[in-house]
Amino acid sequence: MTSPMSKPAMLGCLLVLIALAVIPLLGDKHAMDVTVEIMILALFALSLNVLIGYSGNVSFGHAAYFAIGGYTNAILLTSYDLPILVSMPVSVLFAMVAAMFVAWFCTRLTDIYFAMLTLAFAMLVWAVLFKWRGMTNGDDGFVGITIPAFLDGRIPLYYFTLIVVAASIALLWLICHSAFGKVLVAVRENRTRAGFVGVDTRRMRWTAFVVAGTFAGIAGSLFALFKSGMYVENAFWTQSAQVLIMTLLGGMYSFFGPAIGAAVLHMLEITTNRYTEYWPTVLGGILLVILLFLPDGLVGLAQKVKNKFSGSGGAR
């Protein structure tokens, strides 16, 4: 995971990008909607993985930054009539500043205490969105966002999402494979040792938290445009749990794993909802399978299968 991209991986990325660019030409509205949502969720899950996979800190409150990005974008566009060129950067900035603030507290703690504190702050964000009716419209949801004219319509919105998500993921990839990313993995692997080669581990974890929150903010602001609304549920802990499951399902020790997890989980949810209303039950079952049989997620499983067939078993 720490070496630059291999040739097959690069080819894979290119193919996915081409496929995504072609989907609107098929003219299937449903397929387009599903794909847009998956792209947004993939970015959301990849952002969380900077914290979980790369820095080794589990967050139970990642939805907070997604919601802050989304609500800010929605409110600035609609209540303040600001152009999207202002509203989107500002909404990402808000998510980033919120992450900076929360991370300052959370990174004083480690392990389960860290995780619980991220949850506590996320519940605070949820409570504010719920109660601040004048601004957010509370539990009725903030609906009917003013979408800028150039994004009005399924196809423009699709390509806008594709461009922003692709650029964001490229940047995330660079950060995860930068000098910072490499040392971050060392911090995950052994905090004591990393401290003793001169790394301020708390500041490293703080930075990872801010990166994660910022990119979640981007995902959230896109989500608001796509749904043309934001709802308090988007800030609730169940949303944080869902993105966590996506990350684990795909595989946290691989850069692209969480994106795969997001796609698979979302497809499963859509398919399940077609036949039954018991999606949460199915989700629980999926979580069980991951925890018991797929500790390294789908990517880990694929690697195991590949190693078996190539017969080496030692290659990683």
Binding site: L174, S178, A179, V183, A186, G198, M204
Partner: protein, 252 residues
């Protein structure tokens, strides 16, 4: 002049005094061993020096500067490096990356978010791996190395920081006699070549008398003797503490 010095260092774990009034001077360039029976407080003493534990009282000085309780990442920048008694590497990273990460940190590039990590410090990393004899193992996953090799790797990580004082906590713990001999020859050579000041704890007397210039003996958290190897060996108090054990430098 002392490069590292502790003054009346004391650590009280709720009534249990693990380190009691320890004053020790480490002279620049010397190789100083701390010995003592199990539970004598050797590791606690190390942890007090390196800021992993806060002393109940007393101070730690580095080149005349008070460094008591200084956090490790700042201490390293001053030139104090350490290894740990229990293996302390990054198990899921490659051997190469284990060392490379230390060099990235040394050069203050660890907050560089937008340059690829891969090309950083490749040459220095290779040189350090050559120094400790791990070139062939470079692409292997560190956690899969043999115990002795992991210890060598840890030494390379510690050396990557370009330290002036090296603290090794039981560098040969858990090693086979063969590995012990090799490891000590390595430490001996490197500290001589680089003019490092070395402070180490060790239970193998062969190792201690083989490379130490001076020896201090800890017993129940107190230093009961300190001096040249010959003086310490013949000290009646030390002989009494090590009742029945060989202090003749032949190992065991």
């Amino acid at each position: 002049m002392a490069i590292l010095e502790t003054q009346n260092l004391m650590k009280d774990f709720g009534g249990f005094v693990a380190t009691n009034n320890v004053s020790l001077e480490l002279r620049e360039g010397e190789r100083h061993a701390i010995i003592g029976p199990n539970g004598a407080g050797k590791t606690t003493f190390f942890n007090l020096i390196t800021g992993h534990l806060l002393p109940s009282s007393g101070t730690v000085m580095f080149e005349g500067k008070d460094i008591t309780g200084m956090v490790p990442h700042k201490l390293v920048r001053l030139g104090v490096a350490r290894s740990f008694q229990r293996i302390n590497i990054y198990p899921r990273m490659t051997v190469f990356e284990n060392v490379q990460v230390a060099l990235i940190a040394r050069d203050n590039n660890h907050f560089n978010l937008f340059s690829l990590g891969e090309p950083h410090n490749r040459q220095d990393t290779k040189e350090l791996l050559e120094l400790v004899g791990l070139v062939e193992e470079a692409p292997e996953i560190a956690g899969e190395l043999s115990y002795g090799k992991q210890k060598q790797l840890e030494l390379a990580i510690a050396l990557a920081e370009n330290p002036r004082v090296l603290l090794l906590d039981e560098p040969t713990a858990g090693m086979s006699p063969q590995e012990t001999t090799e490891a000590i020859a390595l430490v001996d050579r490197i500290t001589k070549d680089r003019g490092l000041t070395l402070l180490f704890t060790e239970h193998d007397m062969g190792v201690v008398f083989g490379i130490a210039d001076r020896i201090s003996v800890l017993h129940h958290g107190e230093i009961i003797a300190s001096g040249l190897p010959e003086e310490v060996r013949n000290d009646p108090e030390v002989r009494r503490v090590y009742l029945g054990e060989s202090l003749d430098g032949e190992g065991h």
